[in-house]
Symmetry: D2
């Protein structure tokens, strides 16, 4: 008799998830099966489910019906014969990033630049990424999932599954910090610092020696909560008060910031993004991980004259996730600031649509397929 598991699946674009019994997959090759204890509901999920095929028709969704769920954490339950680094019982985060292993970039280790890069349980990043979604048709909104061992992050004992399921957005910020090349003693501007991405950037920037963090947002209370994380190193500015970000930055720095990370949410105007760019010192680096969309009017001549870069950054490698786990495990980064809001799998649609009442990025929306 075929074993089954419970999974939430979307049968058509825009429809609610349906909880169904589907066959329990068995791992082959270098794949593992993970019992999912926690799956983060990222703020953007409802948008993606409803609009992806309209907004990005060139890039694929998983074949429907599909199990979505970007950021799972759980326990390894079974392993394929070629698995060498993990064993049943291991506590892991499962990165959704899937690289093909065959394109020129993969073959020289640039796994995040894979020509077929896809997010399992979410969408594909390139027109040819469907091949990876077909290979790994498993997201975290199910009791079990298969994933390649290369996508796992081993978790320290002091890190709960719910916090680990936050690694997707935390890691996006972590990789952005690396691309900004912010060594110890540097200054950083973060647009959207009180959001899901922004708080993580602040935490990891503090841990790696960024001296001064300048953060912007709208909500004064949330900004103050962020500032309180390290009052001597974090300064905040609300764009709701009417001033320009770059003018503020000129006032509080000597010639601008070394780095700027844009973590603005969807549907924000272009002006704060551009004010961030104008806040860079000569030679500074901007890294974009936010949802700013549309054609942004950028003065490329100024970027040239000032030797500045605008760097796109998308996700992070599982190996970077392992470094984050080490930081959390050692206490160098404290992830206890997040407030878990937990839903059972049956309530998945409420979770997806219930993100309105959250406390900015401090809220951590979780679906818990197994306990």
């Amino acid at each position: 008799m075929t074993k089954t598991m419970r999974a939430a699946r979307m049968h058509a674009v825009g429809e609610p998830m349906v909880i169904e019994e589907v066959p329990l997959p068995a791992p082959t090759g270098a794949d593992v099966r993970v019992q999912v204890r926690s799956c983060n509901i990222v703020p953007n999920l409802a948008n993606i489910l409803a609009n992806w095929t309209t907004w990005f028709p060139q890039n694929p969704l998983p074949a429907l019906p599909a199990i979505f769920g970007l950021d799972p954490a759980g326990v390894v339950d079974a392993v394929g014969p070629d698995v060498v680094g993990f064993a049943p019982g291991d506590r892991v985060y499962v990165s959704p990033g899937r690289s093909c292993g065959a394109c020129p970039e993969c073959r020289r280790g640039e796994i995040m630049h894979c020509q077929h890069f896809a997010f399992a349980g979410y969408f594909g990043l390139t027109p040819t990424s469907r091949v990876m979604l077909d290979r790994y048709p498993y997201g975290g909104l199910a009791e079990y999932m298969l994933a390649p061992q290369s996508a796992l992050v081993s978790l320290p004992d002091n890190l709960t599954f719910h916090r680990a399921a936050r690694f997707g957005y935390l890691g996006t910020g972590y990789a952005a910090l690396a691309k900004a090349q912010l060594g110890p003693g540097s200054t950083l501007l973060v647009n959207g610092i009180s959001g899901t991405l922004g708080i993580g950037i602040a935490l990891f920037a503090l841990a790696q020696g960024v001296t001064t963090i300048l953060g912007t947002g709208r909500n004064h209370d949330l900004l103050e909560r962020v500032r309180a994380l390290a009052p001597e190193r974090i300064q905040v500015f609300s764009t709701a008060d009417g001033g320009a970000i770059d003018e503020w930055v000129r006032d509080v720095t000597d010639g601008g910031v070394d780095g700027y990370i844009s973590a603005l949410g969807p549907n924000t105007p272009h002006e704060p993004f551009l004010q961030g760019l104008r806040s860079l010192r000569r030679g500074g680096r901007a890294v974009n991980i936010g949802a700013t969309a549309g054609d942004v009017p950028i003065d490329v001549h100024h970027l040239m004259d000032q030797q500045q870069s605008l760097i796109g950054s998308c996700w992070f490698s599982a190996g970077e996730g392992q470094q984050m786990a080490a930081l959390a495990g050692s206490g160098a980064v404290d992830l206890s600031v997040f407030e878990d809001v937990v839903f059972e799998l049956d309530k998945v649609n409420e979770a997806i649509n219930g993100l309105e009442n959250r406390h900015g990025g401090f809220s951590n929306y979780i679906v818990q397929p197994t306990a």
Copy 2:
């Protein structure tokens, strides 16, 4: 009796240069005096002289009357007491780039990111760069000039002063190639390949192992001359024929180019610049050294999704110039493709305004203050 020298000076913005006798400066500290044998007339000079104060009012011109002249080459004639690496008789190119030595960037060796960076004999790059223009009020359109030893490039015997005076635009391309991180075996798109910047990029890219160079421009004859430099490695495309650059690139590559350098001239539309951006493979790098101006509508979400960077690059260090000199000296790069068009100092205004009849970037317009 005070010694004098002949110099071309501009007394007011937009006025022609006047040939005058001015005091011969004497080197102090770590400065050298160079007898100028050749000064390149860069295509943009007339524009800068007439429009800088209108276009970039925040950044300074030299104090008028001023000796302009961006790219001089000549012979060291006298040295200050602290000069350690050069001596009278040395053949040198003089980079106009002036760094302050005191700002945080200078003090960690990032001399091109100096907060007061200026081009002696041209303009300042930052609002506070006037201090460097005042310290070095000497361009190449005079019989002699002072410069710091840190700005010199020692020239090999096989390199003429006229070719060496080309180093400014050659070096701009050279530094852009470095920022694009184009290792051997890579592919490169160059927009504006038949211009003053573009041809140099092609020559140095070939010398450093870029396998495939895709070049665009308008003039078919000039494009064909560029292609003939290395027919097996260079392909060209004329935007005058109506197609889109990115479609062509997709046709002739597997997924796009590793790097893209924009070397478009002033007053070009934004569309070719953007088509270049869209030609990058996932993870590719764009470097802008062209004159594209205005607010360019850039899809920053696409750059993010595809892990792509847009990197501004402005000029090059004298040390990079020394590497270029080594390449030219060894024969690894052949600069004989350039056609010198030489003017005496008295004809400086004709030279500045006479760039219309040139053969694209193959023409090398030179003023020769001393012979």
Copy 3:
């Protein structure tokens, strides 16, 4: 009926290979099967077969009886269901490097730093690498072999299988050049320039803009053949003449070389290695890919005072191999200098033991399992 293939296998350490019929393997997962047209017999193979278990008892050989053969090239013949980038009929080089995909280094893309790194068909590099040898028990001395798609290099039409089978040693030099960070315009010392590694270093260094190559060896005729590859850029020095390498380098450079690659063969004395180190300029980088063994007496205080590095480099990624293929395909690197010496599979033992009569690194010893 099980299909079979002919393979050379060693049954016990030090014994000759035996030609046998063994089962033809079928590819699974992301593996391909390659029909081997050429397998390079590297100079060190006889040594490895006879002495590995004595010299490096902590690191494993493949389980005996084993099919050896480090550097195969051939035609893809069948593919597993998860292969995405290759298809039957593709001409490929098969890198023997096997990374686990699961260790922290692999998970962040540092595939050459894998904790279980092994050379399929040769030996393991770490005490725990047996797991990779067991997973891929196939070398190139057989009619067919299995390999993961991540290990393949797609070959251009103008590159023969015999030349492609040279990629192992060529790539070792190529990766060493990258680690030495030798940009265009730099100077390089190569110890052992006329050997199998050295000639490849010279060819790729020329192609990537190393201006001056200083090469040492013993045999004057071979050194002169190397110099003739680019007489204006290569200088040679025979250690058979009694002088010291570093004295020669001081004579022909201004303060030493930017980079030094040691490609000395086995059983060479330590002194030339050390003279190479002493040839570096302040801030220079040494990369070791040679067979120098034993405890080399190194003045680490001098390395410190002079900000110099000694960098170990072992092999290269398949992606780097793809870049080498691009260079060869475009004509930027000409591999026609090598003289193929070809043996049928039946003559494998003669090939392994017959390397005495070669013309240094110009000879290319090949076993051809299928034609």
Copy 4:
């Protein structure tokens, strides 16, 4: 009447310092004059004064009689006409590192690789560095000194002159950390962690997110004081107890450390240095800033097989010092662990010879020329 100042000078190698009145120098060019409030007495000074000319006859001392004193801090008192970034009254650390500004390395910004690099008030690093000692014949053991503005570090208000005078050894560790490329989440072994260099490495490593620091030394009490800086992230091991460092590291890590910094003092045996090398994981990096002398027997074949590097690191740039000042100013690094032991200038010889009673690297020996 010529103004004078009090200075300690050594008239002949090995003789005690003599306090003398010497002319007060006036700054020219881009030099500043600093009133010295504090000068660190580094542990190695007595050795250098007595033995340099014997140990390193190829590299110069300053011309005698000379004012020594490696690490001064004080107040800018007067500035030359070309100084742009500093003004009288500024509190500064004065790095002794002097680069020529003219050699190829300086001209591309690699100021620490200068061919004439010297430590003003200490010694020259290359045979041709006397030119820089002659240009700047001023150490910190005097009431005033001249220095180029490029050598200054601006100090935050919360940093005392005595702590700032520690920047030389702190910065040496800081630059070593950068060369080890220890990102957040990494592991580090420090040999000599309780010494003057070692404690600084620990403090800055913690601040930049090194997760796990493994430190070795001899004195159990001092090791315990180091461990107490961050008990959850620092582990210590005494070599006085008889075990091998690499065995300990294997026990407490998974496959070795990412980085290893040797900060061993003079006259230590080679074995701990080598055990440190053997503690690296595959792909790991060793950085040497210790005083290990003589020919160290290194297994370069192992470094090659394991893709490991041995990197020499000497001092740091003033710009790196500025980053350290930012870390101290923000509270990200707390330098209050050091115990100042202060001598007046008259007691300079006692200070130089009195370092025996110190508490390892926690003691901070200072001469205070002005108060």
